[in-house]
């Protein structure tokens, strides 16, 4: 395979490919001029190019814009396809069922297990309730999601793209709808080419109706995360829901319909930033789906190989790997951005290899390093060695550390909090008898799902008394009891009166919940007087 001038093994594919696409012209001898003349040939002469490839080589080079070629991927069964099915069922179930799960939080909080209550600024997730001031939990989870993607990429390559990404899952779903209405690959290609008539129109409109139904259910489920699901569902269909609910559903229905029904792999190749980031993250130690060219080349039919076993490799050029690919690429061209590593080509190739009695794994999960090792005659190694590489361990460590820190913070957080801000205008108030009054805004936060009686105590201010906007001055005292509603922050205006000879000084407010929890929080603040500093 290797041309003698080109000893570097990782250039193999490139050279082999060039030979394949331009068999008449062995590339080192080509001068620039002849290349220019020969340019349309690559597209037509290679068998690989007859597939609806995304690489741009299907069009004459003079075209500025590439026509979209619909990918009609063929049905396949195998371990990876079954795993994909399982992932699809799992992810769709999680998406559609989660809003309907209930979680009892008592009479003062919603009973939806997962609820993003934007109107009341609360985020509920089973036993966890997050307030806006605790948004760092959400930020932490987002960071974990980001590092989780790095971790998965480092451990198992583009597994997210191949199995769990919503674009992949919904594209897969829509492709099954295609299969259901129009038959498998060849039937769909035929139908595409067929002229528009009543039969085609009927098929297309019924298929698109199902597309639309799926899209609507997708968009519809989304809004259920933001309000009580049963109530919202009823309101939605009786026309009582908020306009934003209808707008959101309309937008998500439209995008699901367009991206899942029509744009599909175009999203992965042209729109999504993640594959671009992944090309920077993958290296020769990363797990990818790859064609083992040293074993497959030179491609030739079973008959040819029987006649001349020395010359031909295991690949019989049956095009099954191309036919089943949901993004329409040819994996034998090597690693490429269009490959989402869904491994359906592995299923396809393994089946063909089994049929013709050759060993499986001509296309397989492997790292480029393993490929080199195997090509040089080494024993095949387990692809899951990537789990033990330092990069994976470091990402895993960071991921776990953030998770543990978040859990710790969640565990030790208190459900009682006090913040105090002193009035600045006026900073103090002289009373008739010469005593001095300062005013403070206290925020008493009760994060429990029940009303609580709390006690506010003034500490470190000699001779002071306190009353509030609801407790009259006649009842002024050093300690006051205040009712705080369930799951709410109560703002209290507190007046502190100190004797005439008081000077500027710090003192504290202490908030204590008067229940079995006895949670407490202390805030320090300043008492200001006309006398100023001592």
């Amino acid at each position: 395979m290797n041309s003698p001038e080109d000893p570097e093994p990782h250039d193999d594919k490139r050279n082999r490919w060039a030979e394949a696409v331009a068999p008449a012209q062995s590339k080192p001898e080509l001068d620039a001029a002849s290349q220019k003349v020969a340019k349309p040939s690559p597209a037509q002469s290679s068998p690989a190019q007859s597939s609806p490839a995304q690489s741009g080589s299907d069009v004459p080079l003079s075209d500025l814009y590439e026509k979209h070629t619909v990918v009609h991927n063929q049905r396949i069964d195998g371990p990876f396809r079954r795993f994909k099915w399982a992932m699809m069922v799992l992810t769709l179930t999680v998406y559609y069922v989660t809003p309907w799960l209930r979680w009892d939080r008592g009479p003062f909080a919603p009973d939806q297990a997962v609820l993003i209550d934007l109107a009341n600024r609360r985020f509920y997730m089973f036993g966890i309730e997050i307030w806006p001031h605790e948004f760092y939990f959400v930020a932490g989870m987002l960071i974990m999601a980001g590092i989780g993607l790095f971790l998965v990429t480092s451990a198992v390559g583009r597994a997210w793209c191949g199995y769990a990404c919503p674009q992949t899952v919904w594209t897969d779903l829509f492709q099954h709808v295609d299969r259901l209405f129009d038959g498998d690959r060849n039937a769909r290609i035929r139908l595409d080419k067929a002229p528009w008539g009543p039969a085609k129109l009927a098929r297309r409109s019924s298929k698109w109706s199902v597309y639309l139904l799926i899209s609507f259910v997708t968009g519809g489920a989304w809004i259920l995360y933001f309000a009580d699901a049963p109530t919202l569902l009823r309101e939605f269909f009786t026309g009582e829901a908020a306009p934003i609910a209808y707008i959101t559903v309309a937008v998500l229905t439209a995008t699901t319909f367009a991206l899942g029904g029509f744009l599909r792999e175009q999203v992965c190749i042209y729109m999504c930033p993640w594959p671009r980031i992944q090309t920077a993250m993958l290296d020769e130690k990363s797990l990818i789906v790859t064609y083992k060219d040293w074993r497959g080349e030179k491609r030739g039919s079973v008959k040819k190989a029987q006649k001349n076993p020395e010359e031909y490799g295991d690949c019989i050029d049956c095009q099954q790997c191309v036919a089943v690919c949901p993004t329409g690429i040819d994996i034998r061209e090597g690693p490429q951005i269009g490959c989402i590593t869904c491994a359906l080509c592995i299923d396809a190739c393994d089946r063909v290899m089994a049929d013709i009695g050759r060993p499986r794994g001509l296309i397989d999960y492997a790292t480029l390093e393993d490929c080199e090792h195997e090509a040089a005659g080494g024993e095949p190694q387990s692809p899951l060695r990537t789990l033990r590489r330092p990069r994976t361990l470091i990402y895993g460590g960071i991921w776990l550390a953030i998770g543990a820190a978040l859990l710790f913070a969640l565990g030790v957080r208190t459900h009682t909090e006090l913040t105090v801000s002193a009035d600045r205008n006026p900073p103090f108030m002289l009373m008739r008898d010469g005593s001095v009054r300062n005013a403070y805004t206290l925020k008493l936060r009760n994060m429990e799902g029940r009303p609580r009686t709390m006690q506010v105590e003034v500490g470190g201010l000699a001779g002071a008394t306190m009353w509030t906007d609801t407790i009259a001055r006649e009842n002024a005292a050093l300690v006051q009891q205040i009712e705080v509603p369930a799951d709410a922050t109560r703002t209290v205006r507190a007046y502190i009166l100190a004797p005439a000879d008081t000077r500027d000084q710090s003192f504290t407010f202490t908030l204590t919940s008067l229940d079995e929890q006895r949670e407490s929080d202390t805030a320090q603040t300043l008492f200001t007087t006309p006398g100023g500093d001592p």
């Binding site: 490139r14 220019k36 690489s55 741009g56 500025l64 814009y65 590439e66 979209h68 009373m431 009054r437």
Partner: protein, 306 residues
């Protein structure tokens, strides 16, 4: 061929795509075609822009922008939003109008609304003299403290708000006038009088002459011990709060030629509900007094209990 256009196009063998001719550190740019739908998206944005220019104000002209066909303006939208907000407040305002001022505190929620509304009205109409924190300044009373010239319960505050102080526009205005003694008393007499006044707050020793002058000229309004009189709007002289300053100089000046502040009445400029809300706000600042009437009623209610 670094960074220069090459007339002879070359083809990248693995992809079969032409090079553009640009090279950066050995990395060359391919002339990969855009997908066709991308081009359509671009046309769609152009169509959107044209539609936007037609529908909304867009082109700046000399004194205004072109008007869109639907006639939308940001000012119009603001006016609409304000009218919606006003409509939303109507119910509360009506409720406040219908409630006796004295009865406001009986409905804590309504009182809260009134205080909030009053705070907004205060910022527009009152801060110019009384200050943003209602702490006043020399000559302008502080509304946070517990010293009231004319009474600090809700109804008294409301009356002051309606009719003002020494205001020409109303018969019912709060009125008090202290004569100037500058031409009547001699300097030593004024000194003695000021000394007596300061003795109420133990800042000075009283003299017999000062006490006599006070008894003859001041007692009828300011009271035996300088306690003042709300009926006549005479300030208390025995407390820590002085509208025109507590120094001996300031007091002497006030005896010679008293300053008299004027507050306009608001009955003709603000609607009754707003005045009620302002009263509630001022009352809430910390020095508000409980209505005498209310105390009586409470006492009566307590009596009725067996």
């Amino acid at each position: 061929m670094a960074n220069e256009l090459n007339n002879e196009s070359r083809v990248d063998q693995p992809t079969g795509t032409e090079f553009v001719g640009h090279e950066w550190d050995g990395i060359e740019e391919l002339d990969t075609p855009l997908p066709r739908w991308w081009l359509w998206t671009f046309y769609a944005t152009i169509a959107w822009a044209i539609g936007y220019v037609v529908i909304y104000p867009a082109w700046p002209m000399i004194d205004r922008a072109t008007e869109g066909v639907i006639g939308w303006t940001s000012r119009g939208q603001l006016a609409e939003e304000i009218s919606v907000a006003n409509k939303a407040r109507e119910g509360v305002l009506q409720q406040i109008s219908a409630t006796e001022t004295a009865m406001l505190p009986n409905d804590p929620q309504l009182m809260q609304q009134a205080v909030a509304g009053g705070a907004a009205a205060f910022k527009v109409n009152c801060v110019q003299c009384h200050g943003a924190g209602a702490a006043g300044s020399t000559g302008y009373p502080n509304l946070n403290d517990d010293d009231w010239l004319w009474g600090g319960d809700l109804e008294a505050i409301e009356l002051t708000l309606q009719h003002g102080v020494r205001w020409d526009g109303s018969e019912q205005t709060r009125f008090s006038l202290m004569p100037g003694f500058g031409e009547i008393f001699t300097d030593p007499e004024i000194n003695a009088l000021a000394g007596h006044v300061l003795s109420f707050t133990e800042k000075s020793e009283s003299t017999a002459a000062g006490a006599q002058l006070y008894a003859d000229n001041c007692l009828s309004c300011h009271g035996q011990t300088g306690e003042g009189s709300r009926d006549q709007g005479a300030p208390a002289l025995n407390d820590a709060i002085w509208l025109y300053g507590s120094s001996a100089t300031a007091i002497r000046g006030q005896i010679r030629a008293p300053s008299h502040g004027v507050m306009p009445g608001w009955k003709d400029r603000l609607d009754p509900a707003t005045i009620k809300m302002l009263a509630a706000y001022v009352h809430s600042l910390g020095g508000g007094e409980t209505l005498a009437l209310e105390v009586e009623e409470l006492a009566e209610a307590a009596d009725e209990q067996p």
